[in-house]
């Protein structure tokens, strides 16, 4: 029973680590801005019914995420 629980724990931890590395890894700024995108676009589209703002904000914020991430990498890799 204990062996099975420990095996299951290891699998669960490995699964969690895989997704953490995959979605966050060494670029947490990208994940944070994508979560921000979801919030802003959901507010604009679903709550405020501001369709134009929603479809403009989406790519603009994605470009901002890329810019921030590249700038951060340039600072750490002189």
């Amino acid at each position: 029973m204990n062996a099975a629980a420990s095996w299951f724990g290891r699998v669960l931890k490995g699964f969690g680590m895989f997704w953490w590395d995959f979605l966050v890894g060494d670029t947490p700024e990208i994940t944070v801005v994508v979560l921000l995108i979801l919030g802003v676009v959901a507010l604009a589209s679903e709550v405020g019914h501001l369709n134009v703002l929603a479809y403009v904000a989406l790519p603009v914020l994605a470009i901002a995420a890329l810019t921030i991430s590249v700038a951060r990498a340039r600072r750490t890799k002189p």
């Binding site: 979605l23 995108i37 979801l38 589209s45 369709n51 929603a54 479809y55 790519p59 590249v70």
Partner: protein
């Protein structure tokens, strides 16, 4: 008429994205398998590859039909967000490589490194466990990225069968080329391919995140092409602005 053009736009971008993503990951996996095969023998290398391919096929068989049953809007929202993160990570890496901040992915260097570390291991008698594990890990890890691209793009576009077929063709083509040219995989313009895939993943991610949140895109699916052009331009400008003076001198692409 407009609906037909929109649908074919999605299909063309989907086919291109899956084909390039599968090709670029297959080049990386093949480099490892060829290094293992040449150094420690082909039997265990091919066994490791075969088991990894079966494991990847099982992932598609398990998650593919399950994802197809998820309602389209929530699926596109989750897949869109994942593709945005995944695609932006690819673009960041490609920009930093082109700008000279990170070394280009060098298949020859990876080949030599893998060969050196495999030679350092003692030879096994009978089935070579080291060769099996290295080949399995190489194929499974690179293959997981192909599986993620196939499942996310295929299910969200309701074209899972097409995505699987295109990925299989890309993998088979690269395998054939790999067999013919053996170690000349370094000639593949990997960074340019990664950049193109990144642009398409971010475009799909943007489009489907919007669809999942009930955004009405002007021009419907045709907007996907506009996004591809927009992100490609942004990447070109970013490389120019971020480029290191030393990269300019050595002529990084």
């Amino acid at each position: 008429m407009l609906a037909t053009v929109s649908a074919s736009t999605t299909t063309v971008v989907l086919v291109l994205a899956v084909f390039l993503a599968a090709s670029v990951e297959m080049v990386e996996a093949l480099t490892i398998v060829v290094a293992v095969g040449h150094t420690r023998g082909w039997r265990s290398a091919l066994e490791g590859t075969g088991v990894a391919v079966l494991a990847l096929a099982a992932l598609v068989a398990i998650f593919g039909p399950a994802l197809v049953r998820v309602p389209l809007n929530p699926l596109r929202l989750v897949v869109g967000a994942v593709l945005l993160i995944f695609g932006l990570q690819w673009l960041r890496k490609a920009i930093l490589r082109s700008a000279g901040y990170v070394g280009m992915h060098d298949e020859d260097a990876i080949y030599e490194k893998t060969v050196a570390s495999l030679r350092a291991e003692g030879k096994s008698v009978g089935r070579d466990r080291v060769a099996f594990v290295v080949a399995f890990k190489g194929v499974f890890l690179e293959g997981t990225e192909i599986v993620v691209a196939v499942l996310t793009l295929g299910t969200s576009a309701h074209r899972l069968g097409l995505a699987i077929t295109v990925a299989a063709i890309a993998v088979a083509l690269i395998a054939i080329i790999g067999v013919i040219v053996a170690r000349q995989l370094s000639k593949v313009p990997e960074n340019l391919m990664k950049m193109s895939v990144g642009v398409m993943l971010v475009s799909f991610g943007t489009f489907w995140t919007g669809e999942g949140l009930h955004v009405r895109w002007p021009g419907d699916d045709t907007m996907l092409l506009v996004l591809v052009v927009l992100y490609a331009l942004v990447v070109a400008v970013a490389i120019r602005l971020a480029r290191k003076p030393s990269a300019l001198a050595t002529g990084h692409a």
